[in-house]
Symmetry: C2
Subunit: 370 residues, 2 copies
């Protein structure tokens, strides 16, 4: 049966739009909440009422003027608004490079919702679906742009975290990029986070010695709880290289990079020959408005035959089915756990997003809608 | 017939020893010339009179206190002389990490020589051999530590350059590390050098558009002569990123890194998504005594899914036979050429080595002995 709130005139939805491009630390002023009508779904369309949406650090890149990256390579050079001088438009298309969000338009991101009305035989009211239409309460979309969600007994929001894109990001980065070998020591930064905590647990499941860094006693205690061998509280550690070498006196073989800056320098210093770095994120750098300091010991890449490899999970989506099978089993067997920080209401989504850059989330940051 | 200079007392040799560890730009004072007796070869030994020796930038690393690298990661921390805190001794052995030269001992490096006397049936006087016993005029060594050299009609010193370790370094870095794909644009720094000029020519033979950087008009003319599509004179170019994007408006897909510093930043800025960097050398950084500036746009490794991979040619010596077959054919067919700068006499070997860091060599730097 279709949602009774859908009268002849349709329903309403509130959504978050980008009000201005981000420069430096994002603030609430960069966003605006707008109410829009949602008509009855047209033929072949489905109307979805979102239950959960995710906020993730990578979204910041799509909210900023990407040209800041170009400027960081070219001190003193101004690049026109919107220009991505160093990434030719042809490549943007070719590699599915996600375009920037446009000012005045609704944002996008992962969401889990419930079908409210359907004019497509593949979906019926009450079905759970995952989509790319986050940052809004309700929407119409073509059936082809939605995915049926079988939660296999897990809470639905797990598919925005440990069993969703962040989990896949950890699984791919560790197993397909860094490819640890038996006996390898694995270092994971932001080890209490949505991605890092999964990377740590997979590395433990695969039999590795794991070192994790996190900020503050509570997060460090959680990292210890999920089985990590050595935890570094980077806020209290002083010299991070010293701290890392202290717990990894024989060096590290794999670095799962989420942070950048001093973390990257410490990992380069502690790396054993032939160590592999999965470069997943560098959250310490995202809000920089001036040229950040690069890793001063980059020469170790040559001197110790290191491999540093960046990746965009969009390139590896074909692993999703394999990942899903493995991860849902691990969760059902109690081998993988996770933490969530849940804020409520679409109007609080920007504030939830901002928490990511202040380390105020604990584990996966989510917004519960409806 | 054995060398007639070998009287009953044996011969003499002059050799270059490390007088003091290098700090900053090396100088003649770091080396000393010493005359030593060379007795008749013992049973199973061969006496070799060197004809050619090589000087290469990588040697600097073995002449310095390696701990300088550790310090570069740990500002303000002193590391005891000789300590390589970040590379555990177990790994040094495990991966064949070459130890530092010791002060007061003769240096080592590639050399081509002629057998002067032999007490092993595998070698006879007049045979050409290649060895690791450079930096000396004459030496005795076990037959097992020498390799017969069949020059296949090439000048013997080619096996210290284009057909030797530098050539293999170019071949491996390009074909086994960066692995260019059809249509890729390849950027090579130090493109007139012993390694870079070979990397450029192999990339052209494989059908790629090639961009090379070199310092000064003469070197740039040579780079153009060997078929490189676009040459950047980095000494005259001003902003290197601008210069690179000017000749590679659609970006680069492969970077063969010999230089570091501004070159690395330019390559990161101009890289297309999924570009691969073979990190062979960073000569601009070798003499740094203070913390160098790291690449400020390192975040592109993540944002553009780049792979940066350092390597030590010692790891890839098993490719030598395949490389030799391919390279000697290319040379015989006139498809690969090279330049040499030749200094004469063991007493001038340190000065020849110093030229490498001032860009005063042109192509392969060699010292002719005897």
């Amino acid at each position: 049966m279709n949602d009774p709130s859908l009268n002849r005139e349709g329903a309403k939805s509130r959504e978050i739009r980008l009000k201005s491009r981000l420069v430096g630390m994002p603030s609430a002023d960069n966003f605006e909440l707008v109410t829009v009508p949602v008509p009855r779904p047209a033929s072949g369309e489905v109307q979805v009422r979102n239950l959960w949406m995710t906020v993730d650090p990578y979204m910041r890149g799509r909210m900023a003027d990407r040209a800041i990256y170009a400027r960081s390579a070219r001190p003193g050079k101004e690049v026109p608004e919107g220009a991505i001088a160093e990434i030719p438009a042809s490549n943007s298309t070719m590699y599915g490079w996600r375009p920037s969000f446009q000012v005045g338009e609704v944002l996008e991101g992962g969401a889990i919702g419930e079908v409210a009305a359907s004019d497509d035989p593949r979906f019926k009211p009450g079905d759970l679906v995952s989509s790319w239409f986050g940052w809004r309460e309700r929407f119409n979309a073509s059936a082809a742009s939605l995915q049926q969600l079988d939660t296999v007994g897990l809470p639905p929001q797990a598919f925005l975290g440990v069993a969703g894109m962040p989990g896949l990001t950890a699984w791919v980065g560790l197993l397909k990029i860094a490819m640890p070998r038996p006996g390898d020591v694995v270092f994971v930064s932001a080890a209490s986070g949505a991605v890092g905590s999964v990377a740590c647990q997979i590395a433990k499941l695969k039999g590795h010695t794991v070192i994790g860094s996190a900020g503050g006693a509570a997060k460090c205690a959680f990292v210890k709880d999920i089985g990590v061998d050595h935890v570094i509280d980077y806020k209290a550690a002083g010299d991070l290289t010293e701290a890392l070498l202290h717990v990894a006196p024989a060096g590290i073989d794999v670095y799962f990079e989420n942070v950048g800056g001093e973390h990257l320098e410490a990992a380069l210093a502690a790396a054993n020959p032939f160590a592999r770095f999965a470069i997943c994120g560098m959250i310490s750098q995202y809000n920089a408005t001036e040229l950040p300091t690069g890793p001063r010991n980059i020469m170790f890449v040559m001197g110790k035959s290191l491999r540093l490899e960046g990746y965009d999970i969009a390139t590896y989506l074909d692993f999703m089915p394999e990942f899903h099978r493995e991860m849902t089993s691990w969760i059902q067997e109690g081998k993988v756990t996770w933490r969530e920080t849940v804020d409520h209401g679409i109007e609080n989504a920007p504030a939830a997003f901002l928490k990511l850059f202040k380390g105020e989330n604990f584990g996966k940051m989510l917004v519960k809608l409806g």
